[in-house]
Symmetry: C2
Subunit: 461 residues, 2 copies
Amino acid sequence: MTTITGFDVYDVRFPTSSSADGSDAMNKDADYSAAYIVLHTDDPDTFGCGFTFTIGRGNDICAAAIEQRALPLLGREAAQLCDTPGTTYRMLKQDSQLRWLGPDKGVEHLALGAVMNAVWDMAARRAGLPLWKLLAGMTPEQLVDATDLSYLSDVLTRDEAIDMLAKLELTKQERIDQLEWTGYPCYTTSAGWLGYSDDKLRRLCQEAVDEGYRHIKLKVGANLEDDIRRLGIAREVIGPDANLMIDANQVWDVPEAIAWVRELAQFKPLWIEEPTSPDDILGHAAVRDAVAPVGVATGEHGMNRVLFKQLFQANAIDYCQLDACRLASVNEILAVQLMAAKFGIPVNPHAGGVGLCELVQHLSIFDFIAVSGDLAGRVTEFVDHLHEHFTDPCLVSDGAYVLPSKPGYSAQMFQASLDRFAYPNGSFWAATPRGSAERSRRARRVAEGTAFASVRSGEIS
Amino acid sequence: MTTITGFDVYDVRFPTSSSADGSDAMNKDADYSAAYIVLHTDDPDTFGCGFTFTIGRGNDICAAAIEQRALPLLGREAAQLCDTPGTTYRMLKQDSQLRWLGPDKGVEHLALGAVMNAVWDMAARRAGLPLWKLLAGMTPEQLVDATDLSYLSDVLTRDEAIDMLAKLELTKQERIDQLEWTGYPCYTTSAGWLGYSDDKLRRLCQEAVDEGYRHIKLKVGANLEDDIRRLGIAREVIGPDANLMIDANQVWDVPEAIAWVRELAQFKPLWIEEPTSPDDILGHAAVRDAVAPVGVATGEHGMNRVLFKQLFQANAIDYCQLDACRLASVNEILAVQLMAAKFGIPVNPHAGGVGLCELVQHLSIFDFIAVSGDLAGRVTEFVDHLHEHFTDPCLVSDGAYVLPSKPGYSAQMFQASLDRFAYPNGSFWAATPRGSAERSRRARRVAEGTAFASVRSGEIS
């Protein structure tokens, strides 16, 4: 019997704000980060890695929340945790004191997602399968047992979910064979960060076309004239038939979104992404009505399954961009995939950041095999950075994710990366003024014996 | 010139789970807690206290988030922070890295609320006025400058908000005079916790009637037969004309909520509170359609102004129960009060917990004086516990909050209470097995030099 003997939590931060990678109209100085957990057992070959993605400050808050969320796993049997992931999820989620801090949103939900990502990673490793294949091999009943259907019965019952999955059961192998051949279609955002110069934009668009991409996404929303000029460049390079998507990262109110997108409609964008607050279901519905045929996409900040339920009910979106680390792992993602399939909305997950591409490839592949059975309108994000820190990095070829073949959820980072980029004690940060100041601050706190925080002016540089 | 020289953050927890105080169908073992901050200046008479309310575990996570959120205040001029609270709020809120962890929800939003509560407390103390009076003395322009109207322009513009406030400007003193005489109407939840016996319920209902309450609220949702019996007892004691409210604390899906409330409609509840997920705007609208004339109320878990905007747009609620610590303090609460007034929905704030009654009395009093101008359907929650820890406890007489007269937001706790109930080092917790184990765990962590968390089985008792 293999049991959970402990875990390690890491606050890992990459200094991406020093380039303009990841810059958009809302997030100008992101340090792409992961609050990362490794679950250990008494068998060194049985472990699980998981994380949530953040953009810098507050990654320590997530790490602290992850530690609390993971405590109930200690001493439990790995087989039981992995074989009944729905039960594991409900055990972790049921803490009513932690629930108060959400419910099902914010730091506590990110933390639950990170811990369950590690459980799913362990489950796939134990099975000797990549996660998508573990999921594809589960029966409809097993999948629905693992799914968080709470608060959803007005649009999706357990029986309905089982029926949906059962209908695709017999043809799963056909779709696996198809994807082994073609890969899963993806698009690139690497060209379109807001901080890039026009020349760099032009060059990166051409490179994307040359690499086989049929979809390219640009950030917009900071300045209308700039957006018009940049979209003109991109459309010129990619030609009239390739797909151009635009992403405003929530900077607009609803009326402003409508006016701005109408100005950009001349470049025939496939979708406008995050036109306004991610919480504004009715706002997205209003934008969608007003800017058609430009589609509306959102979801990377979609906090939970109840939000997505309403986005579907209100006909508010054309594309569902769920996030593998913002939702509470596969258990909640299954619910959103099932609802999206019922409403006929393509799920095109958000990716980029740290390790999101590694995770979402599994989700999209499984979605096609077992939930939607459809590739129409499907294209999953790909951003080409930070993959070198992962032991099983995603592989993209000719505009498509190649099916992962190694056991797990592709969630493991190299120990050398953790040692170098752990904040503030890793070798990279310890050598910076910021890391050094933070180390001193923490040491002083420890010396004074103050867990919380007697902070005095001058302490913070 | 007085500047912010530092702050202290406390993780304060009261062992309320040892009685059944606060027990409901969702939250069975709440330890009422506050993540509490005191802002200091170089003038000992100039300080500000603020907090967010939690129910136990995770209060440390909120405290850590509060520390980060408050850092930008260090070294700033108190006068400027207090005289332009909208600017202060936007400065703290604009951190895009912390925004990623929400946005505007969960732990980070609770923390922003706590810090801004302390700023408003300081502002009122500096003015020598109770907060309600400080707000009532501000011009429409000043109030709207302090209000977070972002993402709201499709239902409320700045000009519209100013016009609404200006219309009530000349008659404010009449309403102040009225409230000085009558107090602000409240209701009690002290009678109706789910864990109380029938005899205790009967006795507490009778006491509430004797104390002048015309509204009594009971928790429901755990067991339908129990609910029917308990509502029968309550209705019998309070008579046919007093108002009985029921509160399910989010335990139902939408169809279940409709069915259950129809069974309880025989007792003529004024409202059903939190029938389902607090995020489910369309779900609340469906419940409201189905259970009328029973009203629908929600808001204590209403995460932000965008959620409330949609609750109003969708005609989803009859009563808005915003929470003084879940929203980001007065800056966001003003936005919700203004929208509620525009849509004609009474704002009946959630209270109880730790210090929520102390805060919401100011908000409700101000709401009547300057925003709604109306008492129809208005009744603010009151729960009679833990007030003894506050230096300016709320005072209720004959079913109404007596207008607070001391300077501030009534947010200051006694140092003796902080010293006794700080977790885990306060004298109360240090003497308990749980507090003692937690102290050992933290000491071991410090000795090992691990900020995050190398946790091994057996470490946690």
